[in-house]
């Protein structure tokens, strides 16, 4: 009995919430609170509050449509319950069959970007050309200027909002901290030093 009562509540934000719902339905990419405020002709603070209201209305388990905060903005997506039905009708070309090389390249660009192919090759130890071309084609990375011409002027790359959206990240800062990764690096270091001592001895 709780739900229908809420829908006819006289919350003063209701009109604004309805406008925002409409904007999000029309949009094909996440909209930031600032963009929503401008389009709705209202102030950002009230938009944030209205988004809270909408988020409550459109949440997992309650609606087939779910509001999510992703890629620096707000967007509607299908609820997870409906994933199977959606999968029968729609493909996900951007993330299908991502190879290990592509994922490592993507990780490097996400953490160190904007960075160039030589930067990526230096870390991975192999050429990154095909992985970079593949990610470009999928729209997960994009060009972001060039290196200083004095060091060759290589094209630099960064990740796109599509990358954040597909991986469900609010922003790049939602990635785990680099310091928390590579836990076995210390172990490798110790083993290497052990070998080095043997050689000097």
């Amino acid at each position: 009995m709780d739900a229908p009562l809420r829908l006819i509540s006289t919350n003063p934000l209701d009109q604004l919430a309805r406008t925002i719902e409409a904007l999000l339905v029309v949009a094909s990419a996440p909209l930031s609170a600032a963009e929503l405020a401008e389009a709705a002709g209202d102030d950002a603070e009230r938009v944030e509050s209205a988004l809270g209201l909408i988020g409550e209305r459109y949440r997992e388990g309650r609606s087939g449509i779910v509001l999510e905060h992703v890629a620096g903005g707000w967007a509607f997506r299908a609820s997870r319950d409906a994933a199977e039905a959606c999968a029968r009708l729609f493909e996900k070309p951007a993330q299908r069959n991502l190879s290990q090389a592509s994922l490592e390249t993507l990780a490097i660009v996400a953490y160190l970007g904007p960075c160039s192919r030589p930067d990526i090759a230096r870390i991975r130890g192999v050429a990154a050309d095909s992985a970079v071309a593949n990610l470009l084609e999928r729209g997960l990375i994009a060009e972001a200027g060039r290196d200083d011409p004095s060091v060759g002027g290589a094209i630099k790359y960064r990740t796109t909002p599509l990358f954040e959206r597909i991986f469900g990240l609010e922003s790049l800062s939602a990635l785990p901290r680099l310091d928390d990764l590579g836990a076995d690096a210390d172990e490798i270091r110790e083993r290497l030093h052990a070998v080095a001592e043997k050689r000097t001895a």
Partner: protein, 250 residues
């Protein structure tokens, strides 16, 4: 076949191989811009021209091209300049560990992305190009009709005729000077060009010179000049012919 004299025609360089090597060693040519495969192709083409395999040339070429490749590879990765082999074992271990740790972190990050992708596999959303934004209207400030009319009247005014007289070079007809030379030469068999032309404008002198060349072509006069910029002397070639010409042109 001499490898050092191999002629190359590449995007970044054109000339013999030994000059290329010299430029590279003097740092006057950026190896990153050099297409090493192009050099190999040029060598192979040259090699194919001979029936017998020139082993000595091949050996020399291999040594040179591999040195070039190594230089290029080092240029591409400036950090690698600190060769691990030149380091003390402790330092080498540290450097290796640093590189491995860097890669290790990225490999873990890739694994995190893989897990994330698997976890987010049941998120479906609409993707598409951004719709067109409406055009922003730029309203004009309120206008007074009288003021607008005034401005329009200014624009409608006939522009003043611009005189181009000073731009045109007026050339006198060549025929005038033809007649003049012929008239002068009727009385005198030799004429000095400069003397005859003194007091005329540059354009007139130029046209007079053209007339002179025309007369020379017809064989009516002979022209002599002892040295460049020396006085030009004109003389009648032969009296009979000149007569026939004057008769005809009269």
């Amino acid at each position: 076949m001499i490898v050092r004299e191999l002629e190359l025609d590449l995007d970044a360089f054109e000339g013999p191989f030994d000059l290329l090597l010299t430029l590279v060693l003097k740092d006057e040519l950026d190896l990153r811009e050099l297409d090493v495969a192009g050099i190999v192709l040029a060598f192979l083409e040259r090699l194919a021209e001979h029936d017998q395999l020139d082993l000595e040339a091949c050996g020399e070429f291999l040594v040179l091209i591999s040195a070039l490749l190594e230089l290029k590879a080092r240029g591409l990765f400036p950090d690698e300049a600190a060769e691990l082999a030149e380091l003390e074992p402790e330092e080498a271990a540290e450097e290796l560990a640093r590189r491995l740790a860097e890669y290790r972190r990225m490999k873990d990050a890739a694994q995190w992305l893989r897990d994330r992708l698997d976890g987010e596999g049941d998120r479906f959303f609409r993707l598409g190009p951004a719709p067109l934004a409406p055009k922003v209207e730029q309203p004009l400030a309120p206008q007074e009709p009288a003021r607008l009319a005034e401005v329009l009247r200014l624009l409608a005014k006939e522009p003043a005729q611009v005189s181009l007289a000073h731009m045109a070079l007026r050339f006198p007809p060549v025929s005038r000077f033809l007649e003049r030379f012929r008239a002068v030469l009727r009385h005198r068999s030799r004429v000095d060009f400069e003397q005859e032309m003194s007091g005329l404008s540059r354009v007139e002198q130029a046209v007079a010179f053209l007339a002179l060349l025309e007369l020379r072509r017809n064989g009516e006069v002979a022209i002599e000049q002892a040295a460049p910029f020396a006085p030009i002397r004109i003389s009648r070639t032969d009296v009979e012919r000149e007569d026939s010409w004057t008769l005809r042109s009269a």
